[in-house]
């Protein structure tokens, strides 16, 4: 071979090498996109926001508690989750005990939702589990195992949606609820599908159009009627809350007569309590409880302007809540404060509301609570401007 030929061949081979490298890079990138989820990394960065105070916090000026051990814990959890999953994937069949463990973890996340864990920290934990369960869902499994896995995935995705609502990240919350609905459909369990829908109805309730909330609550109720479950108690209440919000906005049938509202609330309470008496267990996240029923009915009544009845429901609910269920307790205190504004006690109301929010750890003072406080402040301001007349509900 001549020197020219050799040079020509080298050139060809260089070009080929470049194309091979480019194809490999593209192939690898596709694989990386498929198997990695950068969300956890971003959450870890957000959770460690105080490390860079000059740039301020990621989410909320009062939301960042900096625990030097937090990142280490996060990494340990990541490692444990991955190693457990690696061990699982190495086996031909997913062991029953692994499914039991994931179900137990899901329930524990639900318990943490209502108790001690701050939303962002819990979100990080749940996302890690959700990522691992998603990977498991990609494998082929016997039908029972497939349904159980998708049940876990639906619950985790729904819980993530609920946490994102609390953090005010409504756009992502919607996506997670959609995912939860798709996962729930795989289980063919109407009660689970109804649970996702009724939980999703809270998204437009807080951040969107109450009409969408109403539609979702009704659809959830229809599904739940196929098999009596906790949602059979929750859906009518969600429906009433949506009606209240619509009436508050002057839409639909306008302000219903107070007697009608009282009657509807009483019916929802009566039906809800009898349903809950037949439902096994008492789970405030993946089920529904009497204290939630009373709280939500009370809130709906307050929004509809039935302050006296609303206050009574809220007071009953508050007595049933444990002290560590801080978020709901605070929201109830704020709703009760709203009733006091109606009773013409703005100063006392403000003191009460301030105390309620101050008792909440900083990481809980998120969007939902802050919105409620702002509503209260504006109602008090209106009351002062109007010289003590009843505030517009809101």
């Amino acid at each position: 071979m001549s020197t020219d030929d050799e040079a020509r061949h080298d050139e060809l081979s260089e070009e080929e090498l470049d194309s091979v490298l480019a194809r490999t890079a593209e192939n690898l990138l596709g694989h990386v996109h498929q198997v990695t989820d950068p969300t956890v990394t971003l959450l870890a960065i957000m959770a460690g926001q105080d490390s860079l105070p000059a740039f301020g916090p990621w989410l909320d000026p009062e939301g960042g508690t900096q625990d030097p051990e937090r990142d280490i814990c996060l990494y340990r959890r990541l490692a444990l989750a991955r190693r457990r999953m690696d061990a699982t994937l190495a086996g031909a069949v997913l062991p029953e005990t692994v499914l039991d463990e994931w179900e137990a973890r899901t329930v524990r996340h639900g318990e943490q939702y209502v108790t001690a864990t701050a939303p962002l920290e819990l979100l990080t934990d749940v996302l890690v589990d959700f990522g691992e369960v998603s990977r498991l869902c990609e494998q082929r499994h016997p039908i029972d195992c497939h349904r159980r896995l998708h049940r876990i995935a639906a619950r985790l995705a729904g819980l993530i949606g609920m946490l994102l609502i609390n953090l005010g990240l409504w756009d992502s919350a919607g996506s997670y609820f959609d995912t939860a609905r798709r996962a729930a459909e795989e289980t063919e369990d109407p009660a689970l599908r109804a649970w996702v829908m009724v939980r999703q109805s809270m998204l437009p309730h807080y951040y969107g159009d109450p009409l969408d909330s109403l539609k979702l609550a009704r659809a959830a109720g229809d599904l739940a009627d196929k098999e009596v479950c906790a949602v059979s108690a929750m859906a009518p209440v969600a429906e009433l809350r949506a009606v209240a919000r619509l009436a508050q906005q002057g839409r639909g049938t306008g302000f219903p007569a107070r007697d009608d509202v009282r009657a509807a609330a009483e019916e929802a309470r009566s039906r809800g309590e009898s349903v809950l008496a037949t439902v096994k267990g008492s789970d405030p996240v993946f089920g529904y409880t009497r204290r939630q029923l009373l709280f939500h009915l009370g809130e709906a009544l307050v929004e509809l302007g039935c302050f006296r009845d609303g206050y009574a429901y809220l007071t009953k609910a508050l007595k049933l809540y444990d002290r560590h269920e801080q978020l709901d307790r605070t929201l109830i205190q704020l709703d009760r404060a709203f009733c006091r504004v109606a009773g013409g006690e703005p100063e006392e109301t403000l003191r009460q509301a301030t105390r309620a929010t101050r008792e909440l750890p900083p990481e809980y003072r998120r969007n939902i609570v802050q919105r409620r406080v702002r509503q209260l402040e504006s109602a008090v301001a209106r009351l002062a401007a109007e010289g003590g007349t009843r505030p517009a509900p809101g």
Partner: protein
């Protein structure tokens, strides 16, 4: 080539001005994050990291770059390249007290054949290229992986503390080794396949 954290420039004297606009800083960082996260994981896979460790090192690198973001944003010529170097350091970091967190101890690391993507997810050609890249010496591997990501010899030299010519030499050596590994017949006979 530096492989220890202590060789990374420390930003203490470049702490961000407290008056700086935090929203813009976060926005810039998020742009980098969105653009580079998957690319950095891929870069580490090209450098021989198992999938799990590539993800862990990428996460640690982003955490570190965020902690130094004021300095990185204002001083570093190519934050994307700097990010890869930090991630590579995180991946290579030896056990011991300097290692802040251990996800899997060295003894428990997965064997390479289980830790790399397999035929189910990558083409035969890609697996061959990855295997060939893993046979390169460490310096040639990183220089080549950075080239795959589109960085020039000058940029790479700037971050690795080498001259551009040294980087080009490393890449030339790497390409020769890759050609020999991927086209053994041609390397032997000097002919191109038909």
């Amino acid at each position: 080539m530096a492989t220890d954290d202590q060789h990374l420039p420390l930003p203490m004297e470049h702490l961000p001005d407290p008056a700086e606009d935090g929203i813009a800083a976060r926005g810039d960082f998020l742009d980098l994050y969105d653009r580079e996260y998957h690319l950095v994981v891929r870069f580490l896979l090209c450098c021989g990291a198992p999938q799990a460790e590539a993800e862990d090192a990428t996460q640690e690198a982003f955490l570190e770059v965020w902690a130094r973001w004021g300095w990185v944003r204002d001083t570093v010529r190519s934050p994307s390249l700097y990010l890869r170097i930090v991630a590579h350091h995180k991946y290579l970091r030896p056990p011991g007290p300097r290692r802040r967190l251990f996800l899997v101890t060295m003894g428990e690391r997965e064997p390479p054949e289980r830790s790399v993507p397999d035929h189910a997810v990558l083409t035969d050609e890609s697996l061959d290229v990855l295997a060939a890249l893993r046979e390169l010496d460490a310096n040639s591997m990183i220089a080549m992986a950075l080239r795959v990501d589109g960085f020039t010899a000058v940029e790479i030299a700037d971050h690795l503390g080498l001259s551009a010519q040294q980087v080009r030499d490393l890449q030339k050596k790497a390409r020769k080794a890759l050609r020999a590994r991927l086209y053994p017949a041609r390397a032997k006979e000097g002919g191109a396949p038909q």
